[in-house]
Amino acid sequence: MSARRPCLWWAAALAVAFLLPGSARAQRPLRIVVEAGASAHRVRSLVGTTPEPLDGLGMVVGASVSGRGLLLEARYAQGQLSSEDAAVEDRDVVEGEVLLGVSPHRLVTLKVGPHARAYRSDAGTRRWVFWEARVRTTAPLIPSRLDAYAELWGAVAGSTSLSGSFGGERGGEVGAAMEIPRTPIAVRVAYRIDRGTGDNPTRSDTAEQMVFAMRVRLR
């Protein structure tokens, strides 16, 4: 995979951002949100023809800054995974992502950015790096109170520490966020899944997360 392609996607996203009507961007006030929560992980690693089931709990933190139709979002998650199969080695999972987005419409956001994940065990560390393009749409179920959202993405480039080169990655997240009245706090519940594959289809990791987090709007 060429190293130049992520740069092209970043450039395209910035171009779209600046092509937005000025009034559309100006109508979105600056918004800063941080969140922290718990996550339940479920990972299925495929090594050859043998799947390695792993489950565990973890935590997730994140922050986002948005305004004038632009978005900068960062997320970090970690957890400890274990398996009922004694032959499968326990491991830790750490992942993080930084995304830059634009909102051509108040309910639609386009994002691009890197997403990295590492599984660390005594046997070593397996890493994935995805350069993702995402689209997120929000449905206000109760305006300013309860939103549902869906985010789908795919990797336009990536790398992996698995033998062989990167094959691809697809994923998505669906959830709902409810703001607690008269407070800056919101509760978010979400399900996300992505699957990264090497160029050898017998090597893949499928990572699922159930997220329960609290958001605080700082501004």
Partner: protein, 349 residues
């Protein structure tokens, strides 16, 4: 030659006789007036008598003129009975006719005045066709009398019942009788056939002669106001649209469906974790909450109140227009068409 001259003389003698027999009533009248002015009263009476006999060919003014000269000629022929009969006929034709003082001597006018005093008759003029708003306009009938006497004026329905007694009392020379198009009870006249009856009465109240004038009364279309319509554009929505509620429910359900499908979309096959169904349930509940929040069209009280005021105002306007239309219809104009007068002796039939 002698025989030819004799034939021409015979033709010359018979020609005036043939020409006279072929004369029209108008020519006879002219010849009679010329004879009268030449003091040939016998010839005048003869020619004018023939003109009067052809009264159908004469307009009323010429007939009156013929009768006037004929009566005068009879006066000068000392035939007072004939003169009286002629003048009486002249008065019955129209009481306004009579010998004028410039053309006829006092002797003739004296005889005529005697006849006029003895003859009680009426004539009337009224518009041939009139649009009348009952209660507001009036039909004015001008009545002329031959001489002072009592009279009665009545409007009768077709069945002979009286609609209104217009006048009952003396008449000297002329009288104007207005009728406002309403019956004796004050209600507007309804379309139909009516008769205006003018009766000349004796001092004892007996009917001497009557003048019947047919009246055809028809309705004229009243100009009423259009009933105002309540335009939808004046009304505010009284309930919120059900779309936001349904859209929220659909979004929740769609989100839940997407959670179920995400593993397949990510390429992980159907082997997704069962825990995701908790999120499916949460999204479903969120959709229901959105539906409950928006409702399937909730009432908007302020709009209900505003619309009630608009409807009340509209109903008031409708009632006002209906009242105005009822008033306009009650005073709807009628068309009165008068027919040719019919003169009868005695009581009207």
């Amino acid at each position: 030659m002698t025989r030819a001259v004799g034939l021409l003389a015979a033709l010359a003698l018979t020609a005036p006789i043939s020409a006279t027999s072929a004369q029209t009533a108008s020519q006879l009248l002219t010849a009679g007036v010329v004879a009268y002015e030449d003091f040939d009263f016998a010839q005048a009476a003869r020619l004018l008598g023939r003109a009067v006999a052809l009264e159908d060919q004469l307009p009323e003014t010429d007939l009156a003129r013929a009768l006037t000269y004929l009566g005068a000629a009879e006066v000068f022929r000392e035939r007072s009975d004939a003169a009286t009969a002629v003048f009486r006929r002249l008065l019955l034709l129209d009481p306004r006719h009579g010998p004028d003082s410039l053309r006829f001597p006092a002797r003739v006018r004296r005889v005529f005045d005697d006849v006029r005093q003895a003859t009680k008759t009426l004539a009337a003029t009224l518009p041939g066709r009139l649009h009348l708003m009952p209660g507001r306009d009036s039909l004015r009938t001008h009545v002329y009398a031959s001489s002072f006497h009592d009279m009665a004026a009545t409007i009768e329905r077709e069945d002979g019942t009286a609609l209104l007694v217009l006048y009952s009392g003396p008449i000297r020379d002329s009288l104007t009788l207005p009728w406002d198009g309403r019956g004796g009870d004050g209600t507007p006249v309804t379309p139909g056939r009516y008769r205006l009856i003018l009766v000349s009465q004796s001092p004892t109240g007996a009917a001497l002669r009557s003048l019947l004038i047919p009246l055809e009364i028809s309705a004229s279309r009243a100009d009423t106001l259009a009933i105002p319509r309540l335009a939808d554009s004046l009304l505010l929505p009284e309930r919120t649209s059900p779309a936001p509620g349904l859209l929220a429910l659909a979004s929740g359900i769609a989100g839940g469906g997407l959670v179920v499908l995400l593993p397949r979309m990510a390429g992980a096959g159907p082997d997704g974790g069962g825990g995701r169904f908790a999120v499916v349930g949460a999204l479903g509940l969120a959709g229901v909450a959105g539906l409950v929040h928006h409702g399937l069209g909730r009432p908007i009280p302020e709009n209900v109140v505003a619309n009630a005021a608009v409807r009340r105002s509209w109903r008031e306007r409708v009632e006002q227009v209906q009242q105005d239309n009822a008033r306009l219809r009650s005073f709807a104009p009628v068309v009165i068409q008068a027919g040719a007068p019919i003169r009868v002796e005695g009581e009207p039939r």
